[in-house]
Symmetry: C2
Subunit: 218 residues, 2 copies
DNA sequence: GACCAATGTGAACGGTCGTTCAGGGGCGGC
DNA sequence: GCCGCCCCTGAACGACCGTTCACATTGGTC
């Protein structure tokens, strides 16, 4: 993610995904993800993205109204998919808060290990969107945090969680943010094939989360 | 941190820090921190920074060789101070790994609550520096991670920590990264005056860290 | 008062950016 | 064969960027 020129791919035409010609709009999305993740939205030019998928600048505007809209499009779709997966994981985990928390964390971590590029862009480049465009993404983030807060609350009510009390009170939002921060930023340093694989990472993080909230041993 | 124009300060001359005229170079540093944190390095122009401290573009180059060097300067100094504080906190905590871990986390969290702006810039804007400039900052980050790994290792040896085992093995680097991610990104959402104050945040995070690593109750 | 070094000004330079647009090729439907 | 539509090209436009530079202005030293 330096300011310098994009690393030119060895080949002659486009970059990756040579197997099938991929409709232009999908090729643009994929190239944009890659470029934004590697070098950051503001320094990636429209020319860079389009060259990376074998087209020229002007063609972008047959598919997106602007560079801003392109970023918004790819972040929004990623974020929506994340929210959906989290909800599904929790709902499939039954009524036990410990199982729900573990399922949530496992899903969240696996996704952030597997789709590092998408996660990186969705989390890091949000700030470049203007205020109107960013509001529904923030809503989705709050929703995800509140899933977690809900699990914690029900766990406390049922007596299976015992999170730290600070001066006699708890701050479940702060705890939820702490757990999310931990899981989210895996995408900034995790490299597949070193040490733990995705499933093991998920297990580790789920275990840490359960310990943090003071889940009673089974 | 939108792409749009910088929020103009209400006043007529400069922005904040009107109390003392502050030497130019310090005023530039302060303005750069603020601007970079609010809007991000690539979209903040030299003209923005200098206007924010009541000077014009050209004057920057009497103090820094380039915009890049300015960023490098402020990140490096912040990072060095962070490393120093962490080392000091641990060394003052005595030989007990639990006390060391708690002291480390408390110091780290307090700093990231108090100096949100500096932490934000140091953590988020690193990627804009070219490869040569960034290497010593990465070294410092690794050093901080390794302080944590060292505490974990000695805690396990002394039998006071029992971190999760995954398939019979432990990954202390991953655990250290998880703890650091959690603490680092407080600076992205913490707002003073809401809910917990800095000291309470430090207590909460220290408690979570101790639980995560399976520290034995005293 | 003459000199000097440090510091600030603002026009100017060369470059790059996002976006627009006139033009062209390919292709299904008639 | 011709039309209309979609998609693409690449030159062009206006704006803005980091940096430089000739030129003030200041304040201290002899």
């Amino acid at each position: 993610m330096t300011k310098r020129k994009p690393a030119k791919s060895g080949g002659s035409t486009s970059m990756a995904s040579e197997r099938e010609p991929l409709p232009s709009i999908e090729a643009i999305r994929a190239a944009a993800f890659q470029q934004f993740a590697e070098r950051g939205y503001p320094v990636v030019t429209v020319r860079d993205i389009m060259k990376a998928c074998g087209l020229t600048q002007g063609a972008l505007y047959n598919h997106f109204k602007s560079k801003d809209e392109l970023l918004h499009d790819i972040i929004t779709s990623t974020q929506a998919e994340l929210e959906r997966q989290c909800l599904q994981a929790v709902s499939e985990a039954g009524a036990d808060p410990s199982a729900q928390l573990a399922a949530f964390v496992r899903t969240y971590v696996m996704r952030h290990c597997r789709l590092r590029v998408e996660a990186l862009v969705a989390n890091r480049e949000i700030g470049w969107l203007d205020q109107e465009r960013v509001s529904d993404i923030r809503r989705s983030r709050r929703a995800i945090r509140d899933i977690l807060v809900g699990i914690l609350t029900s766990g406390i009510e049922k007596g299976v969680f015992d999170p730290p009390k600070i001066d006699g009170k708890r701050d479940l939002k702060a705890m939820a943010m702490a757990l999310l921060d931990q899981c989210t930023h895996i995408s900034m340093w995790y490299i597949p094939g070193r040490q733990l694989d995705e499933a093991q990472m998920a297990t580790l993080y789920a275990e840490m989360a359960l310990r943090s909230v003071g889940a009673t041993e089974k």
